[in-house]
C-alpha cells in the first residue's frame, strides 16, 4: 500500500521553518568569521571570549537571580492561587480566575508599561527587586495554570482519607498533597524559570543601570559586538532553555497515570 508522503513533507517543512534559523545560529557560533558570513573554519574562540566578558557575566548573574527568585515565589503563590481557584467557586473566584489568566493573553508590552508606570508613580528606584516583582507577576499565572490542571484530577477524597486515618493538616500537606502536586508545581516553576530567563519586554521597561539582564544585554551587544559572540551566547541560552522545557514536560507527565 502506498502511504501518503504529505504528512512527512509538512512535518519536515515545519521543522525547517522552526529550526533552520536556530541551526544557522548554532553553527555560526563555531564559525571563525566575525560577521557570521561564509564559513571560514571551526573555532571555540567566541565561547572563550564570552567567558572573559565581565559585563556579560554580570547580566547573566542578574538574570539567574531574577529567574530563580521569581520562579520560587511564583511556585508558592501560584500553587496557593490554584488551590483557592479550585476549591471555592464564587463570583469573586471567577474574577480571580480572569485576573490570573489575563497576563497570559495580554500583550506583554502593556504589562511592562503598566508596571513601569506603577513603579514610577510610587517613586521606586529601578533595582533588582522591581525586576523580581515584575517577573513574578507573569510567572504566577503560568504556575497557577499548570497546578490548576493537575488539581482537576486530584481526588480530594484522599485528603479526607488521610484525615480519617488520623493525620492532621500538616501531615496531610506533607505526606499527601505536596508529593502528589510536586511534579505539577515544579513543572510550572521550570516553565516560569525559562520564561523569566528569556523575557525581554518586561525587563526592558523595568531594568535600570546595573540591573541589566541577559536578553537586554544581547540586544545592546548587537550594535557593538561581533555577531559571532552573540551567536555563542544565544546558543548557550538556547541549550539551557531546551533542557529546562524538556525537564518540565517530563515532570508534568510523571504520575499522570
Amino acid at each position: 500500500m502506498k502511504r501518503s508522503r504529505f504528512p512527512l513533507v509538512v512535518t519536515v517543512l515545519v521543522m525547517l521553518f522552526f529550526y533552520l534559523p536556530v541551526l544557522v545560529l548554532v553553527v555560526n557560533s563555531f564559525n571563525r568569521s566575525r560577521s557570521s558570513g561564509p564559513w571560514t573554519g571551526f573555532t571555540l574562540d567566541w565561547y572563550v571570549r564570552l567567558f572573559g566578558r565581565r559585563d556579560i557575566w554580570e547580566a547573566f548573574g542578574n538574570t539567574l537571580i531574577i529567574a530563580v527568585s521569581a520562579s520560587a515565589a511564583s511556585m508558592l503563590l501560584g500553587t496557593l492561587a490554584a488551590f483557592a481557584l479550585h476549591r471555592y467557586r464564587t463570583r469573586l473566584q471567577d474574577a480571580h480566575y480572569t485576573m490570573v489568566y489575563t497576563p497570559l493573553v495580554v500583550p506583554e508590552i502593556l504589562l511592562g508599561i503598566s508596571l513601569l508606570l506603577l513603579f514610577v508613580a510610587l517613586g521606586v528606584e529601578r533595582n533588582l527587586t522591581v525586576l523580581f516583582i515584575g517577573h513574578t507577576t507573569f510567572c504566577i499565572s503560568y504556575v497557577t495554570m499548570v497546578v490548576l490542571a493537575r488539581l482537576q484530577d486530584f481526588d480530594f477524597a484522599m485528603v479526607e482519607a488521610a484525615q480519617d486515618l488520623g493525620a492532621g493538616p500538616w501531615t496531610i500537606a506533607r505526606r499527601v498533597i505536596i508529593p502528589l502536586l510536586a511534579p505539577g508545581i515544579f513543572a510550572g516553576g521550570l516553565l516560569a524559570f525559562t520564561l523569566s530567563i528569556d523575557d525581554y519586554v518586561i525587563s526592558f521597561f523595568l531594568s535600570g543601570p546595573g540591573t541589566t539582564t541577559l536578553p537586554i544585554k544581547i540586544n545592546a551587544m548587537i550594535r557593538r559586538d561581533a555577531p559571532a559572540l552573540i551567536n555563542a551566547l544565544s546558543s548557550i541560552m538556547l541549550c539551557v532553555t531546551f533542557l529546562l522545557v524538556g525537564l518540565s514536560q517530563k515532570l508534568n507527565k510523571e504520575n499522570r497515570t
Binding site: 481526588d155 477524597a157 484522599m158 479526607e160 482519607a161 488521610a162 484525615q163 480519617d164 486515618l165 488520623g166 493525620a167 492532621g168 501531615t171 505526606r175 499527601v176 508529593p179 502528589l180 504520575n255 497515570t257
Partner: protein
Amino acid sequence: MAFLEFQNISKTFDGIPAVDDASLEIRKGEIFSLLGPSGCGKTTLLRMCAGFERPNAGRIILNGTDITDLPPNERRVNTIFQSYALFPHLTIFENIAFGLRVARKPDVQVREEVEKMLQIMQLKGHEQKKPHQISGGQKQRVAIARALANKPEILLLDEPLAALDLKLRQRMLVELDAIHDEVGITFIMVTHDQTEAMGISDRIAVMNRGKIQQVGRPAEIYETPLTSFVAAFIGDTNFFVGQVAPAEDADYCTLRIEGFDPVLCFNDKKLQPGQTAYVSVRPEKFRIHTEVPEGHSRLNVLRGKVTDVIYEGGHTDYWVDGPGGYRISVTRSHQRFGLDEAPITWGADVWLSWHADDGYMLEQYREDDEGLLRLPSPADASLLTELPDES
C-alpha cells in the same frame, strides 16, 4: 445499651435538609445498612459519623462518649470511600501502613500489622505495587486493609461495591461478610441496592428524603413494612385501600374495598371500624388459580383477568386486572413447570387467593410511593396503548 447512637440528627445544606431528625441505635459487632434511593441522605449521615460533617442538631454517642464535635482524626472510626481514595504515590504496603505511620508506631510493629492485613485481605505479593497496577477488587481490599489497620471501633463503607462490575460485586459481598466475621467489629454500610443490603446486613435502616422510615432485620423490613415507601422500595408489592369493618375474630378486621367481596385482614394496628386502612400484599403472597379455589375462613379470593405474562425462568410474573380497577402484580414460582402446573396465558380468567395474614397494614401511606412499583397504574397503561401505532 447501644454501641453507637444517633440522637435526633439533622443536617441542612444551604437550608435544604439532607438528614432530618434521624435517630438510630447500632449494636456492637453488627453489619448495619443504610438503604435508600440516591440523594436520601445516607452518605451525609455516614459522613457525620466519620466527622466530615457536623450535624446542625442532635448528638452522636459512641460507646457512651459524645463524639459529635470530635474532628475525624480523633475518632476511632474509619471509612471506605466510594472512590477508595487510595494514595497513588504510595505502594500498597505504605497505603496500608499510612495510619500506623501517622501514629508513629515503631517500624517493627508497622511491618507486623501490615503483614497481617495483607494476609487477611489476600494481598500478598502485591505490597510493592502502586494502586494503579492492581484490579478494582484488589483496590477495594487495600482500602479495607488500610482502614482496618487502624483498629477502628466502627468501619464505615460508602457504597463499597458500586464501583465494581456485577460478578465481582456478588463475590465481594461474600468476602465482606467473611472479613466481618474475621475482624468482628461493627460495620455500617451505605447502599442504594436492596439485594446488597438484604444479603449481608444484620439490620437495615431504610431512609427516604432525609428521614428514617424503618429499622429492622431484613425479613422484618420485607415482611412487615411500616410505610408505603418501604413496601414499594424493597421488592415489589400491591397496595389496597379500604374501610375497616369489624370481623368475628378481634385480631382481624374486614375491609370494604371498592368492587371487592369483603376482605379479611390481620389488624395488628388495631384500627377501629370506619377508619381507612392501607394494605400491602406482596406479589408472591397471591396464589393464582384457573378454577375457583377451595376456600377456608382466612382465605380471601378475587376474580380477575390476566393482562400480561412475564416468564423469568424460576418464576413468572402475571399482571391481573382485578375488580375496582385494581391491577395486581402476582408472582408464581415454578417447581414443576409444564408438568402439573396448569399454564396460564394472556387473557385467561383466573382467581387469586391470599391468606388474611399476608396482607400487611401500613402505618403511613403516600400516593407518590406507587411510582416505585413495577406495575404501571391502569392510568399509565392506558396512556401506553394510546400511543400512535408506528406501522
